[in-house]
């Protein structure tokens, strides 16, 4: 845990959007910069950048030691923002995440001491190991971009992105995230083991100084906020909205639990962000398809009666079957 920023910026007025080319450039720089540290995960890096541009949060499903922390740190560094990290444990309290009021003997007043959630890039490590109450404290912050402690509400700094990881290895010691909470994560991603070549490259880079130490910021938090505004203004015409709806409907028809409307919204937002990556001011079906799996797969549950497929398989099937019009 590190210290947190105690002066959250207000973000009531919507910021000026960057021109789409500049926004694309910002995104590209972030991706390149992160790849200085994270080797061989170009697609995942892009997915993370579109999630950030879509004002989303990430769930990383992974074995330990594949570089999740490095990913989050390099991301924070690239955008010149605060990086915080919370290690979730069974005894972690909600206030350990949000912050706590401390009585100041001198001023004889309670003073709020912000928790790690007051960062720009928050890594919530092994979130499923904490009890649900603590999990929900983080989830409230994700949903509302604000934190309430002792009845007092504190606005969170922008940009604000939570990268949560789950430990699936020791499932018996975890509190599995409820479906409703998984749904709040825009995307679920997995880094996976690097290929042998990539791993060799990782080892080569690690031999000297850690590359994260040399990583320079390539943009600012403000620019990221403005690029987000650009993404929010990307045109998504009726055919695209209809296509997203059809995809969602397909999952509802072919699984026990289909994609929620929140999922459809997330898909449309990330598709807008994907269009920004291509410096395009409108969404094409390709954007939707590129984001569909990572945005939708973790939101569906398919039991034995509906084929028992994984979410990824179902989404792939939907992309094949649902006509692009």
């Amino acid at each position: 845990m590190t210290e947190a920023n105690s002066t959250p910026r207000r973000t009531d007025a919507s910021p000026d959007p960057l021109p789409v080319e500049e926004a694309a450039n910002v995104a590209e720089r972030i991706v390149e910069n992160v790849e200085e540290v994270i080797v061989g995960h170009h697609d995942v890096t892009e997915q993370i950048v579109t999630a950030i541009l879509a004002r989303g949060h990430l769930l990383l499903d992974d074995v330990p030691g594949v570089g999740k922390t490095m990913l989050a740190r390099s991301l924070a560094r690239s955008i010149d923002c605060e990086f915080t990290r919370v290690q979730f444990t069974p005894d972690l309290l909600p206030t350990d995440v949000t912050g706590v009021n401390v009585f100041d003997e001198k001023s004889r007043e309670f003073e709020f001491r912000p928790g790690p959630v007051f960062g720009n890039v928050v890594l919530a490590d092994e979130i499923n190991r904490a009890p649900p109450k603590t999990q929900s404290a983080l989830l409230e912050a994700m949903e509302e971009t604000q934190v309430t402690v002792d009845g007092e509400t504190y606005e969170l700094d922008q940009p604000f992105t939570v990268i949560a990881t789950q430990n699936d290895v020791e499932a018996d010691r975890t509190f599995e995230l409820p479906v409703a909470e998984v749904d709040r994560f825009t995307k679920r991603l997995a880094l996976g083991y690097p290929s042998p070549e990539d791993e060799a490259e990782v080892l080569r880079r690690m031999s000297g100084r850690h590359p994260i130490e040399e990583l320079e910021p390539v943009t600012t938090g403000d620019e990221v906020v403005r690029a987000r505004e650009t993404a929010a203004r990307v045109t998504a015409e009726e055919p695209i909205r209809a296509y997203v709806t059809r995809l969602a409907n397909y999952t509802r028809d072919h699984a026990d639990l289909g994609v929620s409307p929140r999922g459809s919204i997330a898909l449309l937002r990330t598709a807008q962000a994907r269009a920004v990556l291509d410096a395009r001011e409108y969404v094409v079906p390709d954007d939707v398809q590129a984001e569909a799996e990572s945005v939708l797969a973790h939101r569906v549950r398919s039991g034995t009666e509906t084929g028992g497929r994984s979410g990824e398989a179902l989404i792939a099937e939907a992309l094949d079957a649902v006509p692009v019009e």
Partner: protein, 785 residues
Amino acid sequence: MSGDASTGEPSASESASPRSPATADSPIREGLRDGLRIGDGAASYHRLAVGSVAVLMATSVSVLYHVTDIVGGTGTLTALVAGTLVVGTLLARRLSPRHAALVAGGLLAVGLAGYYMSVPSAYLVAVSFGKVLADNVALLTGLSVLRMTEVGAWALGVAPALVFAPWYLVLRRRYALAVAAGGAALVFFVLSGDAGSFVTLVGTLAATAALGFGTLARRGGTPEQVDAIAVVLVTMVVLSSTVSVVPGGATSPILPGGGSGTPTVEDAFVTNQDRLSVVGSIRLSPKVRFTVEADQSAYWRVGAYDRYDGDGWIRTGDPRDYGVQQPPPGPSLEIEQTVSVEAERMDAMPAAWRPLRLTDGDRDNVRVGAGGSFDPVGSLREGETYSVVSRAPAPERRQLQTAGTDYPARVEDRYLQLPGSSADRIADRTDEITADASTPYEEAVAIERWLESNKRYSLDVDRPDGNIAESFIFDMEQGYCTYYATSMVTMLRSQGVPARFVVGYTPGQQVAEDEWVVRGLDSHAWVEAYFPGVGWVQFDPTPGGPRESAENEQVEQAREGNVSNVDTDESEDGTWTPSTTEMPDIGEANDLTTQSGENGTTDSSVNATLAGGRGQLEPVGAGLDDGNVEPVTSARTDATTASKADSDDGGLPLGLPSREQTVLGAIALVGLLAAARRTGALGRAQRAVWLRWQPRRDPEADVERAFARLEGLLADEHRERDPGETPRQYLSAMAIRGDLDDRAERVGRIYERVRYAGEVEDELAEEAVSLVDELVAERRGLGGR
């Protein structure tokens, strides 16, 4: 993309339509089972079956409507039918089939009871079970319902049951029973000869379609099955128009009332049937039918008709047993005639009007027809003779002028009927023609003169559709006696003058002072009008000269061609010339022509009719021709010039198709399209056109169509776009496979911008369309698939 998976439509037509999200999913697949989709519209099979049954019912109702149009009561019929439909619709959900059968039976019983109430009591006295049975058998063997005296009441009586039963059944989804009920009514009219072949064909098609759609509605169906129904229907149309035995009405060769080929005038009316259909072109038979020995010449009358249905004439009422007849009330001339039959057989007993008694011949074999003529019960054979005493009305002109309009009720009831649909129009025209006439007689003369001077005589006639009289009065330029007489009767009736249509023979060739040879070509139709205190007075509106010329030419040709039985011994020697009269240029013309040729005016024609001595008893104005009618040398040349004139004037050598032809043609076209679709030919042709020809609408639609064409082009070369494949992915996949250049990619980008960015600009559309035009032209040319 695979058409079957998404909408069940052929892929070509599907991708031609703008893709809309609504056509993607399961509702359409369900709709495919219950109904037929045509374009954006959809109709359930049940509705199609209901529509077909409605058409089937309409065929029977049209027969009834036709009946009421002739005898009156169309308004009542329409209201009855509409009311029954409403009641049937309301009851369909509530009434059990058992009760519905009772209702239908009750309606029929009430209707028939109403009919029997309306027939004259004289008939009711004679009514018996056997008689009713015999009447019905007669109806089912080709006796037109129009022969019933009170057919109007009958039509109104049967209409509700006839409409209720099929309508109730089809709304209950009992399709087969509904078709059976509706079909039974139609079959009745087919057997009675009242449903023409067109109506029959339409009814048969509707019944077939109703059964087909009904089955589909019960079991579910596919567009292919609908195609199959259409193919069956068109096969029926094609077969029925190429094979002559159509189950049908009066014009069918298998039923009485008509024949194939060019009929003779005699075929048309002198066979003395109770129904006379007006036909088109006719020919004249030069063979001798009978010879008459009489002290005066006259029109040898065979029979009269009272009811006019637009297509022809019907004689209502039954013949009576032989009895001596009453002479006409006014002054009359007695004619005694002896007729020798020269034809092989003859079904009529021609005699001058009015026949009173048979003085020689088999009285048991004679009945008195409804029109007052003598009819043989069995045919007369060659060599048979009979003698009849007739008294012809011989009024002074003054008597006709002062006869007034105090007609007896029995005459008014029967002889003023006109089809309602044309009555007003004919009346208006006749009003103009008879504007100066103040008495019925003057009206008759004016009408006669107008017909003689405004219409040309020709045997070469295209039978008009619809009302004969109306067509002849307003549209046609030429016709023969049937047309003239029909028109005059209707015109007289429109003025309130009772009149009837009479058939028989003109006097024929006079071969001795008291002997006439009558040939088939002398058969004729004329008019009788009723004058109170005088009786039935003959009028002949047909121009005499042209008719006789045509007839004489036929005789000459037949003689030259050595046709047998053209002459009797006497007639070969030429026409007898009355020694007391100076007759220049007798030649081959018979006496009628020469006599009447001198009587050019109306006034004198009456005098001629009434001339004493050896004078003729011929219709008023029988020879009004020469002064007024442009001379026509023969029917043949007349026809030729007329047809020339037609093609010169009209500019269209081919006439417009008739309504029937149009309808049948449309049905055939639909069937052919269905067959083409079934075999895929239509799809290919449609696709080839679709690929090459792009009508311009708005930029958005243009670009989408252009991209669809590009897709179609690539689909033919490589593969279709998969459902889940984006345009971008598809184009890059195609670019890898083949020699796709930037133009295709450019079209794809434009398509994206228009479809997904909402940029609608004319320049973009222009560019996309012309790029695709180029690509199609390069890759496919103008021919190919």
